[in-house]
C-alpha cells in the first residue's frame, strides 16, 4: 500500500464524505419503493374486502373505504356493476417517506387495484 504523499492526508475522508449522500439517496429511493409496493398490496386487500361485500345478494349498505381501512386517508373506492359482475377499484395516494414531498408531481403512479366478482342472485 502506498503511503500518502505530503498534502494527501484526509483525501479518503473527503471521498467518503462525497459518496455518502449517494448511498443515502439510494437507500431512500429503495425505502420509498417499498412503501409504495406495500400500499399496492394494501389497495388490493381493500378492493378485495369491498368487492366481497358488494357481491352479496343481501348487502344493503356497502361499507366505505375508511370503514374497512382507517389508514386509507385520501384514497378513493369506486364501485361499478355491469354484466352480472361487481367491480371495485381502490386508489390510494402514494405516501412519501420525506415530509412535504409530493410524489404525484414526481410522476409516481398511485397504488391502485381492481377486483371483480360475480354478483350473487337474490
Amino acid at each position: 500500500m502506498r503511503r500518502p504523499a505530503r498534502g494527501e492526508g484526509g483525501a479518503e475522508s473527503l471521498e467518503f464524505l462525497g459518496a455518502v449522500p449517494f448511498a443515502v439517496i439510494v437507500a431512500l429511493v429503495l425505502w420509498q419503493i417499498l412503501v409504495v409496493v406495500e400500499q399496492q398490496a394494501e389497495a388490493a386487500t381493500d378492493a378485495r374486502v369491498l368487492v366481497r361485500d358488494a357481491a352479496l345478494c343481501d348487502a344493503t349498505r356497502h361499507p366505505g373505504l375508511r370503514d374497512i381501512d382507517a389508514g386509507a386517508a385520501g384514497g378513493t373506492a369506486t364501485l361499478t356493476t355491469a354484466g352480472g359482475y361487481v367491480t371495485v377499484t381502490v386508489t390510494l395516494p402514494p405516501q412519501a417517506i420525506l415530509p412535504g414531498a409530493d410524489l404525484n408531481r414526481l410522476g409516481v403512479v398511485p397504488p391502485s387495484a381492481t377486483v371483480s366478482m360475480r354478483h350473487e342472485p337474490c
Partner: protein, 162 residues
C-alpha cells in the same frame, strides 16, 4: 474508504433488486389468490342459481368429474351445468387477470347423509398469474427451482349454501 462506500452502494442496489423481485412475486401471488376467490365464488353462484343443481349433485355423488387440470389436460365434465360452472369460473378469473390451473367441483360430503337438504357443493380453484420474470420466457422455461418468480399461484375454495 471510497471502496467501502462503493461496496455498500452495490450491496444496497443488489439487495434492493432481490427484495423487489421477492416482493413482486408475493404481490403476484396475492393477485392470484384474489382471482381464485372470484373464480370459486362465480362457480358457486352459477351452481346455486341453476335449477338443475339437484340432478348435478347426484351425478357428482355417483362419481362423475367436473374439473379443470391444466397439468393433466383435463377440462370439463358431465353435463351442461358443469360446462356453465367452468365457463363462469374462467370468466371471473380472466376478469381478474388470471387463468385457472385447476378447478374441482364436488358434492359437499354433508349432502351424502341427508336427502332433504338442498344440493351442496364445494369448489376448489387454483389460479396463476405472470410473475415478475414471466417476460423472460426462455429463462422461465429452464427454471424449475424458482418458478414462483415466473408464475405466481393462488388458490381458494367456496361452498354453496343451498
Amino acid at each position: 474508504m471510497l471502496v467501502i462506500v462503493v461496496v455498500i452502494l452495490q450491496l444496497l442496489v443488489l439487495g434492493g433488486a432481490v427484495a423487489s423481485l421477492r416482493i413482486a412475486a408475493a404481490t403476484a401471488a396475492g393477485h392470484a389468490t384474489i382471482a381464485a376467490d372470484a373464480a370459486a365464488h362465480a362457480a358457486v353462484v352459477t351452481l346455486t342459481a341453476d335449477s338443475a343443481r339437484d340432478d348435478f349433485e347426484i351425478t357428482l355423488q355417483a362419481g362423475a368429474l367436473c374439473a379443470i387440470d391444466k397439468r393433466q389436460s383435463v377440462d370439463g365434465g358431465a353435463g351442461q351445468l358443469c360446462a356453465a360452472v367452468i365457463a363462469a369460473a374462467q370468466d371471473a378469473a380472466q376478469r381478474n387477470g388470471a387463468v385457472i390451473v385447476t378447478l374441482q367441483v364436488g358434492a359437499d360430503p354433508r349432502a351424502y347423509v341427508t336427502t332433504t337438504a338442498p344440493a351442496l357443493f364445494d369448489v376448489i380453484v387454483e389460479t396463476e398469474v405472470p410473475g415478475p420474470l414471466a417476460r423472460l420466457s426462455k429463462l422461465c422455461a429452464d427454471m424449475q427451482q424458482r418458478e414462483d418468480l415466473c408464475w405466481a399461484r393462488g388458490w381458494s375454495a367456496a361452498r354453496s349454501v343451498g
